[in-house]
């Protein structure tokens, strides 16, 4: 009763209600205006903003930015969104606004091509040409950075896919880094007998499912791998079948970790000698070093030897890219920084932070392990091949990675896995070509 009476009393003073309403309205407008005025990407003199999806690299960007500032007058201001999926969505949307960040971190290959074809990225062909003149890039890298002949990205780093191993464990069992396929098999046999799981292989996290695929196919035939990822060869061809047979054979022999092994536990498993060889991007070196092992001393790395000795040596590489949005708030500054990113002085600071390699062949990595591999790759003219993840229309890669995950659990045979991948490839490549047309 009291409350009803109260309501009647309220209604006799409509002004009071109106005040409340007006207050709520004003508050809402103020809040919306406040939200709309986000100024993280606004011009800040002497800096360029850099959107990225890895907050742990912020320190490295800041340090490299200090070097860039000496050359261009602009430091780097990292803006991190630690969730990769949300980062992708936010970046794609923000590129269409007038508040685009000055530079963005993106994946190379078809991810970059998909973004470039929206017309929202700046053409960096002239920057690339200048880099080529100075010898700061290798011609092999250009394809993964371009779309329809023009360059839209500058390589952020260049990692190799390598097998990390515990030098102490290898010494204990009288093993050395294998230089031939037979030596690799020998190592696996010895380790297995000693109760150590020879190889890390997993589909947890989805994308690691293609690590062994790209590795084995490229080591069976690097030319075939290059044709396969450009849609010119078939997944059902004998080379791919041979690769999956080897893979299945390794699994049947118990040479691989369970398919739900968590790669985050890889460094610890390597240190304690529970696993023998850990196939992963060379950027993992930082994580292994974090367990207290010293690169080049306590752990080292090798690139998988080719299956046949006569086959040309190759290495799978991974490059993130820096791109400049067409509507970058400080466009000129961003272009200047893109033009100096691969300067050896900047790369020195950056790769020392990453403990990984630079895409600039004249930049010498501080990490002895990477320095050794890079020197050998240059000297022996290894074929550099792009990682599978960026080497096809995103839908194709995603679907085929799921198929490989299924293969790793034994749910599908090599033949049926490859058939499924082949049928997806023909559909997705046709769709990509149709969209291009």
């Amino acid at each position: 009763m009291r409350s009803i009476g109260g309501a009647a009393h309220w209604s006799s003073h409509p002004l009071g209600r109106r005040s409340v309403l007006a207050g709520i309205g004003a508050g809402t407008v103020a809040t919306l205006a406040g939200c709309a005025r986000g100024d993280s990407t606004a011009v800040k003199p002497g800096t360029t903003s850099l959107a990225n999806d890895n907050a742990t690299w912020d320190q490295g960007y800041v340090a490299a930015g200090q070097e860039l500032k000496k050359l261009t007058g602009y430091a780097l201001r990292p803006l991190s969104n630690p969730n990769p999926t949300s980062y992708k969505q936010v970046t794609q949307i923000s590129l269409q606004t007038t508040k685009a960040t000055d530079m963005i971190k993106w994946a190379s290959g078809y991810f970059l091509k998909s973004l470039a074809r929206t017309g929202e990225l700046s053409d960096l062909s002239s920057v690339w040409a200048a880099y080529e003149r100075k010898g700061w890039v290798t011609p092999q890298t250009r394809e993964a950075m371009s779309y329809r002949g023009s360059v839209y990205g500058i390589p952020l780093y260049e990692s190799y896919y390598v097998f990390f191993y515990n030098t102490g464990l290898f010494r204990k069992h009288g093993l050395k880094a294998p230089d031939t396929w037979d030596e690799l098999l020998h190592n696996a046999e010895v380790l297995k007998k000693a109760g150590v799981v020879p190889f890390v292989a997993t589909q947890t996290g989805n994308w690691p499912a293609y690590e062994w695929f790209q590795e084995l196919v490229s080591k069976v035939d690097p030319t075939f791998y290059a044709e396969l990822i450009s849609g010119k060869a078939q997944y059902t061809d004998p080379q791919a079948q041979k690769a999956l047979q080897i893979w299945q054979d390794f699994m049947n022999k118990g040479w691989m970790t369970p398919a739900d092994f968590d790669q985050n536990n890889g460094p610890a498993a390597l240190k304690t000698g529970r696993v023998g060889m850990f196939l992963h991007g060379s950027w993992q070196s930082q994580g292994i070093a974090a367990t207290g092992m010293k690169p080049g001393v306590d752990f080292d790395a090798f690139v998988m030897p080719p299956v046949e000795q006569s086959t040309r040596r190759s290495v799978i590489t991974e490059s993130g890219v820096l791109a400049v949005p067409r509507k970058a708030v400080s466009h000129e500054a961003a272009m200047a920084n893109a033009a100096h990113w691969l300067d050896p002085k900047v790369q020195k600071v950056w790769t020392d932070f990453l403990q990984d390699a630079s895409a600039n062949p004249l930049s010498h990595p501080g990490n002895p392990l990477m320095a050794g591999l890079k020197d050998r790759a240059l000297k022996e003219r290894w074929t550099l091949l792009p990682r599978y993840g960026e080497s096809g229309p995103p839908n194709l890669v995603q679907g085929n990675t799921d198929d490989l995950g299924s293969f790793m659990t034994g749910a599908s045979s090599p033949r049926s896995t490859l058939r499924s991948m082949a049928s997806r490839a023909s559909k997705e490549w046709a769709e990509w070509e149709r969209d291009e047309a």
């Binding site: 009803i4 409509p14 809402t28 989805n206 499912a209 839908n395 659990t409 749910a411 969209d435």
Partner: protein, 319 residues
């Protein structure tokens, strides 16, 4: 429901001694300007809620329905029901429907039976409080945290297999999350571990509302044990059961977090439910049209299932 509201309205309107001082219709003496102001004020107070629901729920839903009729090519064109036809042709989506059905059955039946059993067993007795707390505690944890804990248990190198091996049961050790349908079944079990707690709470509340006189009368009439439970207690828990089944049904249909953390719908999309497929298609496979179709189908199933169920079960009297 509506009939009871109508009844109440008619009672108030007919009664001359209605306690409501507000007139049902405006008195002739009231000024029209004031009436308009009052109506405007009412609309103003309703507006934030209406706007929020429209902007955050109805508009996105309408746009999702619209998007589902367009294909996923670069320049999207009208595709009719093609995205919906994927449910018949795409094995991943067919598997997703199978999994969703398993989740619905599992998440409805298990919490209902376990919740009821635990509530009845811990309703009385000295140790009941502790037991109740232990059962209810997981409900306070977030789905993701529960998934992380179960991940430690269920991976091939995890606690479950280590325990089996410690007891010499090596042959039973397996990749719990790697093979279908085993992975879906263990995830349903993990989900039950968490969600049974809320069913227990609801059934305990239900048990406490049963008048002691009824139970006493039943005892005097010679009913005891199972017969008393089946014929006297259980019928009085009907409303609670309706709520438990209703919420479990919706939770089962929209299961996401546990699956995402444990398997990400894998391996090879084998453990996806419709909610995971929706995310997978939209954000990972970059098929927003197909993702929208999955979202529409899922929303329709949830709404229709809830409506049919609650309409049948909840009578105007609420019993």
């Amino acid at each position: 429901m509506s009939s009871s509201v109508d009844q109440r309205r008619s009672v108030f309107a007919a009664s001359p001694s209605s306690p409501d001082p507000r007139p049902v219709r405006p008195t002739p003496g009231q000024r029209p300007g004031r009436r308009i102001r009052e109506k405007l004020a009412t609309a103003g107070f309703l507006a934030p809620a209406v706007l929020l629901v429209s902007a955050l729920l109805l508009l996105p839903f309408a746009s999702t329905v619209y998007r589902s009729f367009f294909d996923d090519r670069r320049i999207s064109g009208f595709a009719g029901l093609d995205n919906y036809a994927l449910f018949l042709s795409d094995p991943a989506l067919t598997r997703s429907i199978q999994n969703t059905l398993m989740w619905v059955v599992g998440t409805v039946a298990l919490p209902l039976l376990l919740g009821l059993a635990i509530a009845v067993l811990t309703h009385t007795g000295g140790w009941s409080r502790v037991a109740r707390l232990v059962v209810v505690l997981p409900y306070a944890l977030s789905g993701s945290a529960v998934a992380v804990v179960w991940n430690f248990v269920l991976t091939t190198d995890g606690a479950a297999n280590q325990m089996l091996k410690a007891f010499g049961l090596d042959s039973l050790a397996q990749g719990w999350l790697l093979e279908w349908p085993g992975n879906t079944l263990v995830m349903i079990a993990a989900n039950t571990w968490q969600s049974a707690g809320v069913a227990v709470i609801l059934f305990l509340v239900g048990l406490q509302t049963i008048p002691p006189e009824t139970l006493e009368a039943a005892s005097l009439d010679g009913a005891a044990g199972w017969r008393k439970f089946w014929y006297v207690v259980l019928p009085q828990l009907r409303t609670v059961s309706v709520i438990v089944v209703g919420t479990s049904l919706v939770n089962g249909l929209k299961s996401f977090d546990l699956i995402w953390v444990l398997t990400q719908g894998g391996p090879g999309r084998a453990s996806e439910t419709l909610a995971v497929s929706m995310y997978q298609e939209t954000f990972l496979a970059l098929h927003p049209g197909a993702g929208a179709a999955v979202a529409v189908v899922l929303t329709t199933i949830v709404l229709v299932a809830s409506w049919l169920y609650l309409r049948r079960q909840l009578t105007p009297k609420g019993n």
